[in-house]
Amino acid sequence: MNESRDPSLFEAPPPGEQERMVEAILFASATPMTVAELHARLPHGCDAPTALRQLASRYDGRGVRLVRSGDAWAFRTASDLSYLMTRETVETRKLSRAAIETLAIVAYHEPVTRAEIEEIRGVSVSKGTVEHLMELGWIKLGKRKMTPGRPVTFVVTRAFLDHFGLESARDLPGLKELRAAGLLESTPGPAAPADSDDAEQEDLFTPSPPEE
């Protein structure tokens, strides 16, 4: 980042020491930290990316691993040892089917509009589903789409990646195959019933079926 502007004055700690520092900071935090956050905590002149690389290989194969989610890093227990962790397991409210499907659609199609989610699922998105996913911190608003009406879009968050152990949204299971099969294109078909315009019309006049 700001490497040795004045080496004599701000000499960075030796690489091994930087690695220890990053190790200590990340061990102490329960949530992932970005490189920028690390740099803010480290002494001047440190090179967090290099330290992270060294640390990741040091912990490779250990009971605890250095994992990346998006642009942030955290230590997490190795998943093959989950059976030892039953006591730590947190009981979470089971996601509804609608919420799970909506989450998957946002993850695989992001940035995606509400109309597109509805086009894919064939039902209107129930109130509460999007809110629930936002409260979990798994989806958030993205940029508006440059289409008529400039609709808002949804994207997945770093917390989503962290929760599902993904380095980035590109690592979603089966993403390549789905793309190759053309199943991630949101082409409103040739005046098909669920054509987005029609879907919106329906929304106006018919009560949408209950989702859960």
């Binding site: 329960a30 997490r76 936002m134 152990g165």
Partner: protein, 268 residues
């Protein structure tokens, strides 16, 4: 169904256009509309009974299966949400188009429509499988764990203020919807004012020599809708009181809640 007879293959039952196996599978589906998340979900479930790759599905058969299902639901007097009926109407249309020879005039061929429906089903199924794979991944707090005893010290006493985007949007929504309950502003469209009633009554009074029900003085277009009718009646009555006070007419009501009648007071 006889108009649907259309040779599709040796394994088809001539009377329904479906294989016996498919029909049995479809019938095995309990007619439980609540179990489906909309028409597309129902279609996908029906499509699975065809036991072929979704890309090679017979949309014609699928349309029949769907319409059968809707018929049975109706026979059982199960209430269907409107979008199931919209889909039924569309599939009936698609079915008829598929059975007719292609019309070169049509911009979109029936085959294209059918192909898109198959694509939608395939995409929905793909997303469901993807969702299942996603949920099967190692999850934080279930399979993978964070540090149980975070050590970040909280020495520096600095207060940070926070709010989430959801808070922000909800606050705004709350403010804007409060407008819906702002002090009532008269809707002028549905209100017939007393001034208007007076203007209407004055010229008519000269010719009203017989006792006449005041309801006969309601202007055109104000008799149907109850709210408009009430407004016009009230204003007209108020206007007659005003005219009576000025000595222009007489009012009488023969019994309680009886019709209120007016007559021009002879001049002089």
């Amino acid at each position: 169904m006889s108009d649907d007879d259309f040779p599709e293959g040796p394994a088809r039952d001539a009377s329904t256009g479906q294989s016996v196996e498919e029909r049995l599978a479809a019938e095995a589906l309990i007619v439980d509309v609540d179990g489906f998340e909309g028409p597309l979900d129902l279609l996908l479930t029906l499509a699975r009974t065809q036991k072929v790759d979704l890309r090679r599905i017979s949309v014609l058969n699928l349309a029949r299966q769907y319409l059968d299902f809707i018929d049975r639901a109706r026979a059982l007097r199960i209430e269907l949400a409107a979008d199931y009926l919209v889909m039924a109407a569309w599939l009936a249309f698609l079915k008829s188009r598929l059975l007719l020879p292609p019309d070169p005039e049509e911009e979109v061929s029936a085959e294209d429509l059918a192909a898109h429906l198959a694509f939608q089903l395939e995409r929905l199924e793909a997303m469901r499988k993807a969702a299942a794979r996603l949920m099967a991944r190692d999850q934080l707090g279930r399979d993978v764990f964070a540090r149980g005893q975070p050590e970040e010290q909280t020495r520096a006493r600095k207060v940070t203020w926070t709010a989430s985007l959801l808070d922000l949007m909800q606050a705004y929504a709350r403010l804007r919807t409060r407008d819906d309950f702002r002090p009532f502003v008269m809707d002028r469209v549905g209100v017939f004012t007393m001034e208007e009633a007076l203007e209407r009554m004055r010229p008519l009074m000269g010719t009203t020599l017989e006792w006449t029900d005041i309801l006969a003085f309601l202007p055109d277009g104000w008799q149907g809708d109850p709210a408009r009718r009430r407004s016009a009646t009230a204003s007209t009555f108020a206007a007659t009181l005003e005219l009576a006070k000025g000595g222009r007419l007489d009012i009488r009501q023969d019994d309680t809640f009886g019709p209120i009648r007016i007559r021009a007071r002879p001049a002089g």
